[in-house]
């Protein structure tokens, strides 16, 4: 039974004189090689040029802040329980009086870690979050020489504060909430 028409029977007949000459085959191969000079280049010069991501590209996570710059995460643990790779861990703390400008709710994540070596970028954490706190951005996880550099903590994940650093905030936020709902 033939599933595709790409199957080719192997020809095991002895080569004739023209094939044994060897040079015509070389020239044929070279013609193919040189013809590629005039074709459109399929690669790009990566760091200078970048390909656009699809609108639903799922890159490295960020922890979102609200418009007043307070952390949205309340350490409810739904991202961690939704995570199929078990990459997310966190520890919660109680907001004390005087910290209201830092954290949105009375509980917040004092420690929040994503193990990027485990993360499969499925986006279930984003889907599970009831507080709009975690989003997958349109950027990659940065390359690193050591494995321990891939354990992202809150410093790596938190979005810049929109009050003190509005430019960085808008850059980090990218298209989140605009094109993608």
């Amino acid at each position: 039974m033939q599933l595709t028409n790409r199957k080719k029977e192997l020809d095991r007949k002895p080569m004739n004189f023209w094939e044994r000459l060897y040079l015509p085959a070389i020239l044929k191969g070279m013609a193919i090689t040189f013809s590629h000079i005039f074709k459109k280049n399929p690669t790009i010069n990566y760091p200078e040029e970048k390909r656009p991501f699809s609108a639903v590209f799922r890159g490295v996570q960020i922890l979102n802040r609200d418009e007043e710059g307070r952390e949205r995460c309340t350490a409810c643990g739904l991202c961690a329980v939704a995570c199929p790779a078990e990459a997310i861990t966190m520890e919660a703390a109680e907001r004390q009086s005087g910290e209201e400008h830092l954290y949105r709710e009375e509980k917040y994540a004092a420690k929040y870690e994503i193990n990027m070596l485990r993360c499969i970028f499925c986006g279930l954490c984003e889907e599970a979050c009831p507080k709009d706190a975690i989003y997958l951005t349109q950027t990659f996880a940065k390359a690193n020489y050591a494995r321990k550099g891939f354990i992202y903590d809150k410093d790596d994940l938190l979005i810049p504060n929109p009050v003190t650093d509005p430019e960085g905030y808008n850059k980090a936020k990218g298209k989140i909430g605009k094109e993608i709902k």
Partner: protein, 388 residues
């Protein structure tokens, strides 16, 4: 010899059962079990006079008894209605009952905040389960919700009245179990609230049981506050030789840490044996307990998520092949991670920013601590939750 009491025959959702006289419809349904059992938010088997307040257990009585087979004119609260011989009850077979329950859930949720991500009760909350089963997806309520400051009643228990559904279970526990009631319901109607009168803290040895009977997150364990989510902790049955109570408890473990101790609950979510405060709040070491084994948790419960049973770990091959040499790990996550570095079980209260940054013994303080004199919240404000 007392003569044998006549058994009463009652039919609930076309299932017949014979029960003792004086049994409530709810108890008869629980003897049948399964889906016909009406939900109950305020009724508690071990507390006398409980029930009849939340109206979630409404059923229709299609025929009162053999002697008088007329149906009851309205839906009745099954926890406070006793069975009669030949009674016919409709629970889930009657759409009117389901519609009524849905309405009751909507009423219960009118003032209940949607702060499950913050609440420690989430995952084992009766109201959460109930609203998922019977409730509507959205609320039609448009007005400002009733809010209160959270207060600490005693060193171990935190009361957040905003979440309270006024089931009175905790009042009955204080009345009947601890015998020294110092809290009750103040005011009436929409203004009613659970409060300790004149800033008295509760210090009875059995008062911790109010946490277990609370169907919502209104009364929570301060020694467990924000330590972890319920579904990341692993329940184990354990006991100890306790001079005050029976000492049979359930430990909620995270690794080797005992984060929380509660009483054992039966399949209806009711406490089997009351436990004392010493067992509940002060014995937070594994060495304090004799562990019997893991608790059987319903497969569909959120507490079961991420807990694997019958795990078969593959044998380590490298040590065997390399003549006993252990593999050289490129990274051990425990050396890199900053999580799980603080022994949370040793903290008497919630962790704060300082707990994780240099002062592992510091705990959160509540400004509206009842002992400091700001117990009742007459203004109805809630500074902790600006989003409601």
């Amino acid at each position: 010899m007392a003569e044998e009491q006549k058994k009463l025959k009652v039919t609930i959702d076309n299932i017949s059962i014979e029960v003792e006289a004086g049994t409530s419809i709810l108890q008869a349904a629980r003897q049948i079990g399964g889906d016909v059992v009406p939900p109950a938010m305020c009724y508690y088997t071990k507390l006398q006079n409980s029930g009849g307040k939340c109206r979630t257990c409404l059923v229709r009585v299609a025929a009162g008894s053999d002697a008088d087979p007329r149906p009851m004119p309205k839906l009745v609260a099954s926890c406070r209605t006793n069975v009669m011989d030949g009674m016919v009850v409709e629970s889930i077979t009657n759409p009117a009952v389901l519609e009524a329950r849905k309405g009751v859930v909507e009423f219960l949720l009118i003032n209940h905040p949607l702060d499950c991500p913050v609440c420690d009760q989430a995952g084992e909350c009766d109201l959460q389960d109930l609203s998922y089963q019977h409730g509507a997806e959205a609320t039609r309520y448009e007005f400002k919700r009733r809010t209160f400051e959270r207060i600490d009643i005693g060193p171990y228990i935190q009361l957040h009245m905003t979440r309270c559904i006024l089931c009175y279970r905790c009042v009955y526990v204080a009345d009947q179990v601890s015998k020294e009631r110092e809290h009750g319901i103040l005011d009436r109607g929409d203004h009613s609230q659970i409060a300790t009168y004149i800033q008295e803290s509760l210090d009875n040895e059995f008062i911790g049981n109010v946490i277990d009977v609370c169907p919502v997150g209104a009364l929570t364990d301060r020694t467990f506050r924000f330590k972890n989510r319920v579904w990341f902790t692993k329940p184990l049955e354990a006991h100890r030789d306790c001079p005050t109570c029976k000492g049979e408890v359930r430990l909620w473990m995270r690794g080797d840490e005992v984060l929380r101790v509660t009483a054992r609950k039966d399949q209806w979510g009711e406490v089997q044996e009351w436990i004392c405060n010493t067992c509940r709040f002060e014995k937070k070491k594994v060495s304090d307990w004799i562990i019997e084994g893991p608790t059987r948790v319903d497969r569909h419960s959120v507490i079961n998520t991420g807990h694997y049973t019958n795990v078969v770990k593959p044998n380590e091959t490298i040590a065997r092949v390399m003549g006993g040499k252990q593999p050289n790990l490129l990274m051990d996550i425990h050396h890199v991670t900053e999580v799980n570095k603080v022994e949370l079980s040793e903290l008497p209260g919630p962790a704060t920013n300082e707990t994780f940054n240099g002062k592992p013994a510091s705990t959160g303080t509540n400004v509206t601590d009842v002992k400091k004199g700001a117990g009742r919240n007459l203004a109805g404000t809630d500074s902790t939750n600006p989003n409601v």
